[in-house]
């Protein structure tokens, strides 16, 4: 109990301290700010202790909010560990990230950390939603942090998507609660038994799909991840997108009864996003955008596991555990890569060290032997078993999954090319922190393998020296490297110098791909509305001038309001309503 209060309270208290210190001016407040900012990562220690030693029982606080409860189960504990490690490292990276107003960034990261802990550890619907929403909206502050034009646009799009997703999640939560799923442990069964099962699943797909970057709801992700300061990008990609996965695992009727239709839908969207993201990502020239597209692709991989669990109740448990292991692997690796961009671009770490670390992390993401990816991908393949796509029978999914590795390899190769060309500024870096960063990238395989074996039932772990497995896991990487080398040779040819495909600058497909189209569409709709209203206005004359003065897509409404606002118009409305009510008294009131 005390540990829980500390785990959540300490980060929030430090965040509050940082915020207040920011509002107060003066040199002493400034010094305090910087000190606290440098030591902010220590605030994650209680949660770390909790991960290692406690949380077995359900903790309940009925008076707090609408009743709060938390519990660490087999899904929560590994993800909590991931959360703690990534936030601690990210917080340690803040002081040298080059981000302005570092203390503010640390403050928001700490709030986000507390909320993330809440998301994975929540034991009831209200707590989950509370934490999920706080995390989402704090994310807005992280994306907006630099306040550049790009950050503003990214934040706006993030906000629109988040609010849409949030509404879907809220509706789903209300339905789940009404159907008796207030406690998360009961939620999947409640959803499975609900009359509104399809509606709930649809809302969950949309609501959490926004967070998990499921196509076509992924548009905010490449923009937000590249706009946010690098430490924030690391947690966005490493932890926050996993909140969508947690939501699915907690609420979808996995392991209850088969929903082949929804399973197929999940898998279809997952594969679509997983592979199209590779294409879109290859055409970018910003390493953070490329890594973001890689995240979309990898989240597709996870969504495949969820889809299979939906379609085949027998495989559900294995798939859930595989998803957890994979989430841990991806979180650590992707965060290392993002932080690597910061180390590479702005810090004075020997180049070969950085290169090695990044290479290992990249190979790990692609699933090369002896990395964490090797373990996670193998486990996922085994968990999927002989499930097919579509669920009625078709291609075996186990044969499809390795192609994700190819996609990852290509994306990372592209990322390496882009990164290699970057200018470097030499700033001092912190050796201890760098050590942790390098270790998390290079030896992530140890905890991931340990986790896979410790789960109940233990996950299948690949034979470390079995030639068959080694080959099965390496060919996508090798093929990817070969393709990348070939492409590099091809691109060096003179006649392709001007080709935007050979030397992409992120303008063929802009970051956020379809969002640009959608934005244009929204603008066009706005213009059309305005034109229509103007045409309406030319009939009555005056409205047009009002429109010219206030550019907004809602002028027609205002005209109605102006009419309604006239004294006798509102008077007539009132009389009309009174008459209607009295008529009701005559007709409906007499029958008892």
């Amino acid at each position: 109990m005390t540990l829980w209060v500390l785990a959540l309270g300490l980060p929030l208290a430090v965040a509050l301290l940082l915020m207040v210190a920011t509002l107060v001016s003066g040199p002493r407040a400034g010094a305090l700010r910087d000190t606290v900012c440098r030591a902010a990562w220590l605030a994650t220690l209680p949660a770390a202790t909790l991960t290692l030693t406690g949380g077995d029982e359900v903790v309940r606080l009925d008076w707090l909010l609408l009743g709060v409860s938390a519990h660490l189960d087999e899904v929560a504990r590994p993800l909590l560990a991931l959360t703690v490690v990534l936030y601690a490292v990210a917080l340690a990276f803040v002081p040298r990230s080059g981000a302005r107003r570092g203390p503010v960034l640390s403050g928001f990261l700490l709030v986000c950390f507390a909320a993330s802990v809440g998301v994975v550890a929540a034991a009831d619907v209200v707590t989950f939603y509370l934490a999920f929403t706080v995390m989402s909206f704090t994310g807005y502050a992280l994306v907006l942090h630099d306040r550049t034009a790009g950050a503003r646009r990214a934040a706006r799009i993030y906000m629109v998507m988040t609010v849409l997703g949030e509404s879907a999640v809220l509706a789903a939560m209300a339905l789940v609660t009404a159907d008796g799923g207030l406690v998360l442990a009961d939620a999947p069964a409640a959803v499975a038994a609900s009359e509104r099962r399809d509606l709930i699943v649809a809302l969950l797909l949309v609501g959490f799909g926004v967070k998990a970057g499921t196509a076509p709801l992924h548009v905010w992700l490449p923009l937000a991840h590249s706009a946010a300061p690098t430490p924030a990008s690391a947690v966005l990609s490493g932890v926050m997108v996993k909140a969508g996965l947690v939501g699915w695992l907690r609420f979808l009727p996995l392991g209850q009864d088969a929903s082949p239709g929804w399973g197929t839908t999940f898998v279809l969207l997952a594969l679509l996003g997983g592979f199209l993201a590779v294409v879109a990502g290859l055409l970018q020239d910003n390493p953070k955008v490329i890594l973001a597209y890689s995240t979309i692709s990898q989240m597709g991989f996870l969504a495949v596991l969820v889809g299979v669990a939906l379609a085949e109740p027998g495989l559900a448990h294995a798939c859930v555990l595989a998803a957890v292991v994979y989430a841990v692997h991806h979180g650590v690796t992707k965060a290392s890569l993002f932080l690597g961009v910061q180390v590479w671009s702005s810090e004075r770490v020997p180049r070969w060290t950085t290169t090695t670390v990044l290479a290992v992390a990249g190979l790990s993401l692609a699933g090369a032997p002896f990395t964490s990816g090797y373990v996670a991908k193998y486990g996922a393949k085994e968990a999927v078993g002989d499930a097919t796509f579509p669920a009625a029978g078709g291609a075996a999914l186990a044969d499809v999954l390795p192609w994700f590795g190819l996609g990852s390899t290509l994306l990372l190769a592209r990322c390496a090319v882009v990164l290699w060309r970057r200018e470097r500024k030499g700033e001092h870096s912190a050796p201890v922190r760098d050590g942790v960063w390098a270790a998390s990238a290079v030896v992530a395989v140890v905890p991931v393998a340990w986790l896979a074996q410790r789960l109940d039932p233990p996950q299948a772990v690949p034979g470390w020296l079995s030639p068959g497995t080694l080959w099965a896991q390496s060919w996508p990487v090798l093929l990817g490297v070969a393709l990348a080398l070939a492409a590099a040779r091809l691109a060096r040819r003179r006649e392709l110098d001007d080709s935007p495909l050979a030397h992409p600058r992120g303008d063929v497909v802009p970051p956020g791909d379809v969002v640009a189209v959608e934005e244009r569409a929204a603008l066009a709709v706005g213009r059309a509305l305005r034109r229509a209203a103007a045409r309406l206005g030319s009939v009555t004359g005056r409205v047009r001038t009002a429109l010219a003065a206030t550019p907004s897509p809602l002028p027609a409404l205002s005209a109605v309001q102006a009419r309604l606002g006239l004294w006798e118009a509102s008077g007539a409305v009132l009389l009309f309503l009174a008459a209607a009510g009295l008529l009701l008294a005559l007709t409906g009131g007499s029958s008892p």
Partner: protein
């Protein structure tokens, strides 16, 4: 209940006709004059309905003070031709009004023709209530909170109207001699009438509100005649305005302190308490209404 007599029908027709005239006349002056006539016709109707208290109050307040206020508005500004109302709205409003009226007329036919619980309860408890006249007993004992709050409405309306005056108040410009002479006759008559209404109120129709209206009338007459004291918006005038409410609250708090409970009047001294509160209230209402009038009178004399 008895069927409607010819007199009832005629009276009803007269009331409706005057009401229609009051709202239909396009000029301000016509509307206000018709409204004053409506007050007279209504007073007759009240008398016919066994409500002499209301008749007195209507005569004094409804058409007296409100009429004076409205007339004063007329002398201030000629009616301004406003924009014409939108035709659609007017048609819809009229139609809806007709429908509402038809429906309402049918609805009220369901009113049961039997007395409510309360007259019997009042008759039972009136001994020791501090007033023999039932209406006064209701106002100052059974439902004294209503009366207190209503006095408060007057106080705050006066304060609100007073806040709109942004220049020092002064008496109106020199008044013609006949007005002063008339005032000299009217003033004592109104004060006497008010005092009588006040004292009579405990046992027969009359009471604080009717008396207060008379006092207000006296003050208005004095103001129009140019008397300085009537134009005052100084501390003394404001103190008199709030005195009724404060006295009432003091009584309430006093009974609460003495352990009887808020506003609980002991039959032994209820009569004295009622008369005292009524007296303060009457003066207070008189000054308060006059304040509203003065505030109104002054609001237009703001130099431009």
């Amino acid at each position: 209940m008895s069927p409607a007599s010819v007199l009832d029908v005629v009276l009803a027709a007269a009331v409706l006709a005057v009401a229609l005239v009051a709202v239909l006349l396009p000029s301000r002056r016509g509307a206000v004059s018709a409204f004053l006539v409506l007050g007279v016709v209504l007073a007759v109707l009240w008398a016919r309905l066994d409500a002499p208290d209301i008749a007195l109050a209507e005569a004094a307040l409804g058409s007296g003070v409100a009429g004076a206020l409205l007339m004063d508005t007329l002398t201030a500004d000629p009616a301004r031709p406003g924009r014409r109302a939108g035709r659609t709205a007017v048609v819809v409003g009229l139609l809806a009004g007709a429908v509402a009226l038809a429906a309402l007329t049918v609805v009220v036919r369901a009113v049961p023709d039997e007395p409510s619980l309360l007259p019997a309860a009042v008759a039972e408890e009136i001994h020791g209530a501090g007033a023999d006249h039932a209406v006064t007993a209701v106002l100052l004992n059974f439902r004294s909170l209503d009366t207190l709050l209503e006095a408060a409405v007057l106080v705050f309306a006066a304060a609100g109207a007073g806040a709109l005056v942004r220049t020092p108040v002064r008496a109106p410009d020199p008044v013609p001699a006949p007005v002063t002479a008339l005032a000299r006759v009217l003033l004592p008559a109104l004060v006497l009438l008010g005092t009588w209404l006040l004292l009579a109120g405990t046992s027969r129709p009359g009471g604080a509100f009717q008396a207060g209206a008379m006092f207000a009338g006296a003050l208005v007459v004095a103001f129009v005649a140019g008397a300085r004291f009537a134009a005052s918006q100084g501390t003394a005038a404001r103190a008199w305005t709030v005195a009724g409410v404060l006295a009432f609250v003091a009584l309430a708090a006093g009974t609460a302190m003495l352990g009887q409970g808020w506003l609980v009047l002991d039959p032994r001294w209820a009569g004295a308490a009622v008369l005292t509160v009524e007296t303060v209230l009457a003066v207070s209402i008189g000054v308060g209404l006059a304040q509203v009038f003065v505030a109104n009178s002054e609001a237009r004399r703001v130099p431009s």
